[in-house]
């Protein structure tokens, strides 16, 4: 099977976000970049499917800045065979990213049997790229997947919806599956894996090579700002058992009379 994994590189979840002076994006100079956490599930799933289907290859594709190739190296250290990087800024919109991923997959010369992605990237939180890419490639796809089983031709996947309910889909491959936490437990890259990854092929492409230009821009962002800081709230000490009842009664009362949420 030709298995593709699309990954994104995002600021670490502990990053303090600072908008740029002109408000067009965020300061990226001192950011620690990591593989988008949901993409780790996609890489792991690709390796599980590869292990179950002898002769399969796992190709990782990413669109973004070439300053740091952490996400692609991590994926190859985990076990992926090769990688494609489409060099671009880290603030492309979902449509451009999906179109670039499609172009890179086509450039690879391999026809995908399975494409795996994370369900969303935790930077722009759009949850669009998997569905756009599937639609552009005319592939069936299921998003927010927490369960995967099946063969090289037919799979059953579980999609998580409101309240933790699961929609169970039967899908014939080729297809695109967008992974959520719960589908598997991503492995850590081993030291030999990290060493080997340095020698694995990484092909770099330009946006123009994959047919993407500024005319593909669909979303314009501006005015990046931090959310207003809340004024300090009221703090009550309920460590003393004798006062606890009165404190709780007061807070509950305030929820109705002051906050008006009950």
């Amino acid at each position: 099977m030709n298995i593709f994994v699309c990954v994104k590189q995002v600021p670490d979840t502990e990053t303090k976000i600072v908008p740029t002076g002109d408000g067009t994006f965020i300061e990226t100079a001192s950011i620690k970049w990591i593989m988008n956490p949901y993409c780790e599930f996609a890489v792991e799933q690709a390796l599980l499917v590869q292990a179950a289907n002898a002769g399969s290859t796992v190709t990782v594709v990413r669109v973004g800045s070439s300053k740091d190739t952490e996400a692609l190296r991590t994926a190859m250290a985990m076990g992926a065979d090769d990688a494609f990087l489409v060099e671009a800024g880290d603030n492309l919109d979902s449509y451009m990213i999906a179109k670039a991923l499609k172009g890179a997959i086509e450039k690879s010369g391999k026809t995908p049997d399975l494409i795996l992605t994370g369900k969303q990237a935790i930077d722009d939180d759009c949850l669009q790229v998997p569905q756009i890419l599937a639609t552009m490639l005319n592939l069936p796809s299921v998003s927010v997947v927490v369960g995967y089983e099946g063969s090289a031709t037919d799979i059953t996947v579980k999609r998580e919806v409101e309240g933790g309910a699961l929609e169970v889909y039967g899908v014939k491959l080729p297809a695109l599956i967008a992974c959520n936490k719960g589908i598997n437990t991503p492995r850590y890259a081993s030291l030999p894996g990290i060493m080997k990854a340095k020698k694995k092929p990484l092909t770099t492409l330009a946006l123009a090579d994959v047919g993407v230009s500024d005319a593909d821009k669909r979303v314009k962002y501006s005015g990046f700002t931090l959310p207003p800081e809340k004024p300090a709230g009221k703090k009550f000490d309920a460590t003393d058992a004798a006062k606890m009842g009165a404190v709780v009664k007061e807070v509950v009362g305030l929820l109705r009379t002051e906050a008006k949420v009950l």
Partner: protein, 320 residues
Amino acid sequence: MAKILVFTELHGSHVKGVTLEILGKLAGHTVDVAAIGAIPSEAIADLAKFGAANVHSLKGANLDKYSPEGYANALKGFIAAGSYDYVFAGATSVGKDLLPRVATMFDAGMASEVTNFIMEGDKFAGTRPLFAGKCFAKVELLGPKPHFVTVRPNALGMNANPTAGQASAKDDAVDAGIIRAMIKEIVKGASEKLDLTEANIIISGGRAMKDAANFKILNEMADVIGATVGASRAAVDSGFAPHAMQVGQTGKTVAPSLYIACGISGAIQHLAGMRTSKVIVAINTDPDAPIFTKADYGIVGDLFTIVPIMTQEFKNLLGK
């Protein structure tokens, strides 16, 4: 004047609340509403009250259950026939999955999960959180129409629509086309309550809950005040709660009216996921826990004694 469609989902005999929030925000525009399936008369009355002009029940074969392809094909045909300029939907499981697919069928752009927007004449301008709410940005759409927008539930609030009148209801035949990914079965979730993303009140437990069984005290409080129970990443990673309950950057981003954090220290990625809650109550034994910097009402103390007392106070207050 822009032609605007709001895609809605049925929830029993009503539509999802976010649809009414969107309609209220679009007061002054002529807005149509469409859903897959027969829209019940109660729902049509609700939609009319919030300003819907025409309500369309889209009907066709193979649309009894959600399927990404079937719904996308059906909606694409209806939108093209109606020459809509804008299509709005709630950022629900279906809305988030479906709208990017339909947008791409038109080579069009989409703004995900806006928390506010205005229509300046015929032009959409929205605001949306990025980095799980660590910052916000203005969002505009470029390129071919129609333009697509999903709106986060509970963000706009219910605004009456002063120009509301009668809505005319109509059935429209749509074609689901070829469906390759089809639902075989639906497994019910553990909770019959509103999803975290739609809940008006959320009570979340953190690592200090110690184990899964202790969530019982949160569930008891939730039953009294009609809340949905959530959890921090620490609680989920410790196996106290399923990932579906996780609030935060790698879980769900929520914006309820009231968020009660029990035994949650307030890691930056958790705060990002719940900081837009209107009122935050925090209960924690550590007076220096970061959660207190975001709390409107902080209670320093042991959740295992405070939560049951609070549940009783809620009962008293609500006469239950």
